[in-house]
């Protein structure tokens, strides 16, 4: 390849990145359209962030890791934003206290949008200078886009949690007639056996497998993964089977009706202690009981619990307890990855699962016809979030992205109905603390 050709390749590649950048940045703003200004600032617990903060912090990421170090003469719109929109990068400096993000009524929404557009313009200036775009710049732009896609997902999980505190149960988007009918159909409390269809188990043969991101694309965009998915490495798996289907609300209700929350023998010690510390009736987050009928809050409002949908917003403790009740267990993240690679052609899989693009913001698949191997819900695994053998974090503050969280958390796999398709890959490792319920987390059994 001569120089000219090479330049042209880079140009095309950068053009694709610019397109990705534009699309991602626009999506964040489109997601906010149904919001009132009053909604942008909500923060119902320290772990969640206001919509406004998501909009600003993702912008801060581009400003901090691209514009300040790489765009000549770049002048920050407001120097105080470095402090107030830093999430957790100690290498950049101190951070405005996380639990107080909801108290930042200023800058206003209008000013935050102005901040976004100011940074967008500067980013396009930076990227337009093709020849100056080093690998580091290109990689960080792609990282910044995926970072923003992560926050697009958190936008939904956090908004849902905040709105749930409000007895008026706000609705993000009224469902269309078709989906509506399906979702709202009344289901009797004592339901018929939802397991009428045969649940299949997918077997994994004992062998040495390759785990981790497999870069078989020449595209920079498609060749992206987070550092925690690397290096690709060998892992020995013993014989195992994973269920083809996610556990449903109906199945989970049977666990509850069998006193699942009251029988210590199903629970990990820390999970049981957590249960004992909470007064009142236990259930998945967002389940609401009224007059002996279970309802579920979703971004479509409060609705009768649909027993055929997969159970979601359960903690790892709940997932594990349910599995024990069924004489099963959670899969490891390695089993899950082999299962996913084995049963699904990547392309089909991306089609089949329910991702953010479905715009339903709640698991709505018909399980019988669509086993939802990926998408729909993140699936708890029993694997602690740890570095792969030979893992190296990036140098500098950006290296704080993943590595420093590798303790006390569990890996979830599979993507969910609020994950962007273009952000997902099978090697994706999401991670949360075992008690966490506010993510779209569900359960696939293993044995």
């Amino acid at each position: 390849m001569d120089n000219l050709e090479h330049d042209e390749t880079i140009r095309l590649s950068i053009d694709a990145i610019i397109e990705k950048f534009r699309q991602v940045r626009k999506t964040s703003e489109l997601q906010c359209e149904p919001l009132l200004i009053e909604d942008y600032g909500l923060q119902a617990m320290p772990e969640t962030s206001p919509a406004k903060w998501h909009l600003a912090h993702t912008t801060w990421f581009f400003e901090t890791f691209l514009l300040k170090p790489h765009l000549k003469n770049y002048k920050p719109l407001n120097p105080q934003y470095e402090y107030i929109f830093n999430s957790y990068y100690n290498g950049i400096g101190a951070q405005y206290p996380r639990p107080k993000r909801g108290l930042l009524s200023r800058p206003s929404i209008e000013e935050v949008y102005a901040y976004r557009h100011y940074v967008d313009d500067a980013m396009l200036d930076l990227l337009s200078a093709h020849k100056l775009c080093t690998d580091e710049i290109i990689n960080n732009v792609i990282l910044g886009c995926h970072h923003e896609q992560q926050h697009q997902e958190l936008f939904f999980t956090d908004l849902k949690y905040s709105w749930f505190q409000n007895p008026l149960y706000p609705v993000y988007k009224e469902q269309s007639q078709n989906t509506g009918n399906k979702l709202m159909q009344a289901v009797p409390s004592k339901f018929k056996d939802t397991r009428k269809f045969n649940k299949k188990w997918i077997e994994i043969n004992p062998d040495l497998y390759e785990i981790g991101f497999n870069n078989n694309s020449s595209s920079l965009l498609e060749g992206f993964c987070f550092d925690n998915e690397l290096p690709k490495h060998k892992h020995y798996l013993h014989e195992a089977s994973l269920s083809q289907h996610l556990v449903t609300n109906g199945e989970y209700l049977m666990f509850m009706e069998d006193d699942g929350y009251k029988r210590s023998e199903f629970w990990l010690s820390d999970g049981w202690a957590l249960l004992q510390s909470k007064p009142g009736k236990q259930a998945p987050l967002y389940w609401v009981e009224q007059d002996e009928q279970w309802f579920e809050y979703s971004l479509q409002g409060l609705q009768i619990l649909n027993l055929e949908q997969p159970v979601c917003h359960i903690s790892a403790y709940e997932a594990d307890a349910y599995a024990r009740w069924k004489d099963c267990r959670l899969p490891t993240e390695f089993e899950w990855e082999v299962f996913a690679n084995q049963t699904l052609n990547t392309k089909e899989n991306k089609e089949s699962g329910q991702f953010l693009e479905s715009e339903i913001f709640h698991p709505a698949v018909e399980l019988e016809n669509n086993p939802a191997a990926v998408g729909t819900l993140w699936q708890w695994t029993s694997s602690a979030y740890s570095p792969y053998p030979g893992y190296k974090a990036a140098t500098g503050a950006i290296g704080e992205y993943n590595g420093k969280f590798m303790c006390n958390q569990l890996v979830l796999r599979g993507g969910s109905c609020v994950t962007s398709k273009s952000h997902y890959r099978h090697s994706y490792r999401n991670f949360f603390y075992p008690p966490d319920q506010w993510q779209f987390s569900g359960l696939r059994l293993a044995k």
Copy 2:
């Protein structure tokens, strides 16, 4: 007086009440004008409430205690408001949890204003029917107006506390040129003796005094007081002197520079324990140290500390410690009331002090010329908030207004620069917990 005359008297009286009602309701909305929609929902600690909630709760008060029981066919705008805008009236029913008020992004600001106007219209319907206005109705309307004036004051204390959490230090109202110059003049850190003017001490003779509200007006409006100011009763006072002036920032700084916060001998035991539990440098709330210069945050933004202004936003512990350092003590509320009655002609007094109508929202008096006996700052007393001998709370839920708080709190007297003139009277008993700092609280010495 024949019937006709009597009716006319009532009509005039009710007209005055209607006028008061209109004016009070309008003031609450005017106060919000400088706010962005983003500001309405802020709640930085459980003890404070969002502006939006103040607007709605004061409306709820009229709806609950007047419209629902007394206006025939009144239909609530939204039945759920009974729950979400109830503050603490167990007699009415359960309450939405106080620490979560900031999470109510819905109803929107627009809806809250619509709620206000809906209730206003209904209230005017009720009051227009003069002949049907019983004493209970009239009394509760006046109570509702004073209740709303209390919340108008809390609007400022709560907003200030929330905004202070924001490193951008929002400004409620830019000060006019004149005030500005006065407030912003630089003062050297090691200041000259601000006590150049002679502070006078006002003596109280030992005697049996009358304490409590003295109704010497025939006007229903002027004859109002809260139940906790009654009954008027005898109280024996021993010899005492109260300072004519409030303690200034400059004087308080001398206490600090004399290691006042580090010397246990000045502190009440609970106050000392509280100090030890807090890391970092101690100072009145809203004092900010930057480069060895003290600044103070007010609703006019962050400004250099003015040493000649009275010190404010101190806890009762700080007030008490300062007093001990000066070999003085806090006055009792009884001494304070006698002092106020003795030294001030009520009319003059209302003119002289700095009330909300000054629209400065911060103590700005020139102490030398104006000793500020009332207004400017609430003044801590050493008196526990207790019932007067023979105290009777109103019956029903409205009786929860004052009586149930008569434990663990101290009385403050005098009104402040964010108290409405027309809401104030000398017998007014404000009450907060000893550690509280977010009210406009200052200190008058006694010995």
Copy 3:
């Protein structure tokens, strides 16, 4: 009086003090006789102290305020004791953390007794030198004795609280046959009206009264009071009546059976909030329900609740709620003192009430015959613990004894069944926080 006579008077006076000193010191040790070594170190909450610590701290008091400043060549047995047995005297120095007192297995019990005897010997050396005994020395010895008597009372309240944590319900002293029968008689849960005897109300006429300690004795010992009982001063009282009898367990149970703990209208706001934060059934501390029968734990073990005994170990919130339920209120401490002075001849009174010398350690009076005006139980008043007009604390660290606690607490009056007779006087002001239940606290109604 010539010098010789004067000297003789002092000598006799000091001899009486030495006798008091010996007696008090011996009593502390006698109280511990029923304890196992295992019991000496128990501390079930920060507010309580281990028996061992009481023994050592009272010794520390004499060492710190008498031996170190006044006994020439006095050498402390162990210099570290100054730190570990200091309770709260900041003027002396830092203190070993109060919540950890139960962790001091060393010094051993044996070493603590050795410490006591070492200090006792030195104290007798000091006091034997009559001529060198200044007023300060004499006053501090008397204070030290009363200080130790306070701790003798706390010994019982603290031990009871610690033992109550043990499901084996240890017994301090088996009751004698006679008392035993009386206490253990079964009482039906649905009891007969225990109010069959007429409860009398004692009226107080409105007038100006003298409040505070009245020193009408020439004896140094009998002329003692704490600084908080002074100065004697005038206080105006309005018309009031106080019940001649304490509220009984049976009466309190009627309050409970009338849903007293579930009806917010009876409760102070802070008390109600405290109730809501506690799971489970509410009752006075030490009440234990087994098979729908109420038992009460006392230092005689767990026994069926005696409905005719006065209710004890209630918080001020419980006392106040009961009083409201009865359309009564708590008395003020001033009313109580006038009531006590008025109805009781001091001498008779000391005879009539049940004090520590009864060695029952639990209220056991027959209420019908003995109204128990003083003794039996401390009685909550509605009065905040505040300084009397003109109050002056002692100078130096010893001034921390009382004054610095004059905030957030309520006064209790009357002495209890674990208070020494010789320690008690009508002007005695005990003080605890409203939620506190572990003292022998009961209730006398006022109206």
Copy 4:
């Protein structure tokens, strides 16, 4: 083998078990000999238990899992012990609250010893009936012995933690002259390079290894392991090296002097957050700074920090931060096990390390001559405590022994100077939470 031979084999085997039982039971009591009665009840935090409780709970284990189900006509000494000495076995019933164990002054020490001997006698009755000893009985007796040996180790870790709260720094056992000199030798604060000897790194080849307990003994006693060490299974390891030596105090001090505790880049996120929440200077637990000299508290009292000894009582966060500072990492538990098996002949290894039998209760090895591969200190690994593939917990309450803790904890390997030699094996998996410091935990680097 004919029946007679078979019986004889069993008899010999059971005799060995009886011998083990006697020895273990006696050891627990011998360990308590240096204690005063006052020391037996100390509990300085919920995670630790009083010595008395250890004595009783280990007895409870035999009573609960052997005598009650298997010894005919067994009558418990005190039925309440089932409740108060149950640790965490929900399958047995409710448990006396763990944080209150220090409040059980009764039963007395004497009664606890009587309980031990009562159960010992019954156990010997049970075991003497050889023919009735089923496999379940035999296995549970061996398990009970190892359970008690675990508590023998906890006896030391817990006692040390409790005594450390006492400023008198109690001594468990004065060291002999020889050891004493070595331990107490003064070391300059700015020390010479303690790494004068060459630290070797042991390499592990990438391969598929067998992990887990390897039962190659025909002896029942030696064939014992906990269920969490099974099943033996294959695990693929990548290339790695483990340091032959543990990190020393001197090395750790260099980390501290390089501001290790202040540089976020070395810390896991949760570890950094924990650091920020603690005021004051950070150091390993039991390090005490006096006059700019570091001391260390051990069961031999407070002594000058020995820089050549391995650093101990560090949390996993501290271990991990140190490793990053050295550009290394923690080993996985699999790497550790292969390392241990590879470098050490089991027999030699048991000789070489420092176990409880050394009776020094503190790491005292000369690192240069003895690399201390096992023994001396438990070594943090980066491996979450998880079930091995195919793990099965025992059925019934005894299955709560290990399995329910498999979440949120990390594995430590290697045994320590307070672990019994006969209790240790290379496959042993100890587990604690990352912040825990009160175990004898140290650090071996990997890279």
